[in-house]
Symmetry: D2
Subunit: 348 residues, 4 copies
């Protein structure tokens, strides 16, 4: 007898990450067609393929009004929240009370340090409960926290920029190779889908095409995640996001001064050791650098580096698809771990 | 003694066409710095370069609240309307009553035939006056109506698509070469700035980049202009607009069956004759076709063609910059004619 | 016992279509890792992922020197030719003599009418044998020739443009609805990967980005395929290709005058009937038009239409991914038919 | 009597920078139509507009074979070299012997320190003469060396990247505000025209569109210019170039740790003081950052910055058009200084 497939629901399927998540779940061998939930009260019944004609096909994809009763009645075990931060902050504790497992794609539950959370200014009603879940939530970066994720109940799916930066720096930090006194400069560049589906003057084609710009300098919300996961103090990190005139993909250029002179072979071994057994990390040969194109539409994070002739300065380049490893793909990876599936089920 | 410069005002400078117009007027040798008018009641005084940082510079560009009194006090002689159709429909007659000359960039006054105007469903308050101006308004395509424009008071600046199609077909129509029974197929493609500055899901970078689509098939508002200027009946013309993933530029591919067999030399002579003395028409050698890139940021309309080996079918390709010859550049060309300046003043 | 997987080889894997084909074969459940063949004599052994770093992964992808002996020794049953026309013309008959089945992605074997073949000016050594295979080769468009393909030995994979045009026109032609006297105007637009991987001034980023152009007007090689498959005479068809500033995707705008007045429902029924059971054709609702983005990275051909208010003119829009349904995806679909697999195996 | 116009010649007009230079010279009020020289021996006479159809117009633009005799006969006073480094290295001394003034757009004469020149590995025939000109050549960055340029004979037009980085760092360096011990990280991004007109796999549209990549990390030739002009040692600077999927424009993100705490007002004043009277530098308000779009098609270098809350770290963003302020526009600016014209003649 075949084991029953996992029943999941997605709240927020009409955004870019939510829709990508649905695409992945639809072809996942161990998951049923997900229930698509919406909190917008529309007069007419809607279908997801009205928002994303690319999803047109044999399977109907109705958007159903969110209710706890519906989730229970349909036997949902895992709820994906592709919702605004405040809504995740509000819904996750209630869902956990009902024994649902949560993979939350927002920034609501990623930060352990309340100083870092301050940037979100969450308006929790039940502050005590929220803080309890702040502690219990697991930062859903499998390459760092695989075991905890498997045992977790509330998985905070990492930010897209943060994923690319943390995965690029983690082996160096673990080895104590970062000269923290010089500061780490993380110059990151993202495609436009990272800015969300809502049309704004910043995402208007004419304003983006042929253009390039820095934004949120010294103030981006992913900074806290990087500090906590890499183990740096605020003054030891500069994170500078930029908007690329492409639909998707992130490339982070990480400038590090080394604590001690190193050889390219040592650096490479360090990365291979740190990510031993991680099927979604591709480490490039020394001097060979990944490009955004290589990992688009995959769940891979590509990492390459160039060591200065002096052996004292290192530039690490880390690339991923912001909607895959930076959002929906990683969410499925987390679901796989939570559910005892193979980590790459439905992701190849 | 130097002659006094022309005083102009622009209502609607914050849109793409309006801003391009301001850029042109700022460097026009015979025009004063234009007065920029807005009908939005903002609490704080605004400057155009807050909307278009590319305009930052030595000249302050304040947006001033529109009033007839202001126009009179500042001695404005020519008013550019880069406004929605309805607003142009409302303001133009009032302005003409005050002896202002008008170059209107909207679709309000372009159509002579009331059946063609029906698509706009204008809600004129004073219908009689509106119809009088419908008759008196001059279609501002200098290559066809140079003399009338010079003597006009209300110039209806043509649509961007319409300009490219009409200029491509006019010499053939004039020569009676179009086989009207077969129908003329005008397959046009435009950059995104033609869709305006307002952010919508249709102009979101992620929806446009890497994409291409047809729209308003059998229903685009520029169809009437083409019919009237080329002299075709509705069933003799198909006009199919498409959205290109580029910021600016229009290319129209015009498929014509000829009334009688022709040689490439005859066709070329026809175009040269029809546009003799027109400084903004560039006619290409037979078999050489213009590309959008060639005329970007210029007021040129480039025209090339390929004749079928049979000599009975012709494909004409017509290119222009939709914000220049398709809007602001043509508006300046019209201003030049209206004001007795050289036709290309400020346009090279 | 599991049935043995099919052994295939790809000659020409380093081009865009060849590489896409390898990607598809690698994840096909019923096919072994394909043998990658090259006819370039390189000094060093090469791997495909050196050309396409996106293919980096666990499976080594060596490029091996082409030889008949190698094919035989490795038990290859099906050979994909992603080679220049002349080379396909040369190799296919030899391969067929050795009882290999061939899916040829070039234009070598697509045309039945020698007048249409003239445009290629093939320099066949054994003319008689070539003509025999010209007759026996099957035009590999499954939606039209499914049965013949299944029984074929030499499958001529259709041109990318041709696929989009033929699939858009076929139901109308079959129903005798095309008014051939007016001529059918096929205005097609393709992404740059259609022009191949070789760097030329025409594919230089700076020449393409922000640009758009028509080319090969009245002279494109796919014209013959369209004529033969749709059943039109040369003077009844105009096919006008354009280069879009996007990497992949084709949209064809097909302008048809109808032989008799029709309703949208009739047209839609016609398409549904003609493509009944075809899993890679998505027919849109009347008035709803496909866009290039919808079918990218899929093997689908999307078809939509808009009928003129008169019911006498029709515009059909047909979209596909030129590397998938326009090349590699269709090649796999043909392999599936040839091999008795499900038609969509490895294509979802 | 009107003064005679300056006679110039351009060698290398068919490249992107050379062509842009011709465009500028054609509309310069004090310069005659430039003579266009080529060293390629073509059988047929050529015109520049065959390479750049956008230049089609009334003025014929023949490409003439280079010879010293021609330059003398036509009274050329100023020769622009838009040539490969080696050719500039060869031709410039010969031209100077003939009393021509030179603006050289290559990297041949930019570097004073022979260690920095080593990266070019110049194969000078007359080493002594070359070294003399190495000393006498003036680095053509008007904002730093206006007076020397005016009196110079051989002007080494700066590199595009170098211009953006040097102009962004110079005021800080001058004020001794850079904490050199921490290192300056210059993360620069350029459009594709910077890579030249020759088609290569790196400039193929399909490889660039939707992509982004770092290159020449720890090894780009512009590094030496930055070191020499800003006054840093090699180990104090990291310069990391990236390729943007846009045709033109450079944005440099400059990460600086300050020698002492500063306020935004102090930083801003510093920039205004350093560039007082420089008409092509636009300094933005604190916290307001330039974007590539703002300075495209102008000779402006836009500079903005964001100070960290601590007042100890600064991010400077510097933008320019690589073909204008980064090449041809700056060459004209240098010509203006050399010739006693107003610095912005022909550049507005």
């Amino acid at each position: 007898m075949k084991p029953a497939k996992l029943r999941t629901a997605v709240l927020g399927a009409t955004g870019y990450a939510g829709c990508e998540l649905v695409r992945l779940l639809l072809r996942h061998p161990k998951v049923e067609t997900p229930i698509l939930l919406t909190r917008e009260t529309t007069t007419a019944p809607e279908r997801l393929d009205a928002h994303y004609p690319a999803l047109k096909g044999d399977i109907p994809l109705p958007l159903e009004p969110f209710s706890w009763e519906l989730l229970e009645r349909r036997g949902v075990r895992l709820l994906f929240l592709a919702t605004p931060h405040e809504l995740s902050r509000d819904l996750a504790p209630a869902a956990l009370d009902k024994s649902l497992r949560i993979v939350d794609l927002s920034g609501a539950w990623r930060l352990k340090d309340s100083r870092n959370r301050a940037v979100y200014a969450f308006a929790d009603k039940d502050k005590e409960k929220a803080e309890r879940w702040d502690k219990e939530a697991v930062y859903g970066l499998p390459e760092l926290h695989r075991r905890k994720i498997a045992e977790g109940r509330l998985i905070a799916n990492p930010g897209c920029y943060a994923t690319s930066v943390i995965l690029g720096l983690f082996p160096l930090a673990k080895a104590g190779l970062i000269d923290r006194s010089a500061g780490v400069v993380c110059d990151s560049k993202s495609g436009v889908s990272g800015a969300g589906k809502k049309p704004t003057s910043k995402t208007h084609f004419v304003e983006v095409a042929g253009n390039f710009s820095a934004y949120s300098v010294f103030g981006h919300r992913h900074t806290g995640e990087i500090l906590e996961q890499v183990g740096l103090e605020e003054e030891e990190l500069v994170f500078t996001p930029h908007l690329l005139p492409i639909p998707r993909g992130i490339l982070s250029t990480l400038h590090v001064r080394l604590q001690r002179q190193a050889t390219a072979e040592q650096i490479q071994r360090l990365y291979h050791d740190a990510y031993n057994g991680c099927s979604f990390i591709r480490i490039f040969e020394p001097g060979e650098l990944p490009q955004i194109q290589y990992s688009l539409y995959t769940n891979d994070c590509d990492i390459g580096f160039q060591l200065a002739p002096s052996g004292k300065r290192l530039i690490v380049v880390s690339c991923l698809d912001n909607l895959m490893k930076g959002a929906a793909g990683q969410a499925v990876q987390n679901m796989n771990l939570l559910s005892g599936f193979a980590e790459d089920d439905g992701l190849r």
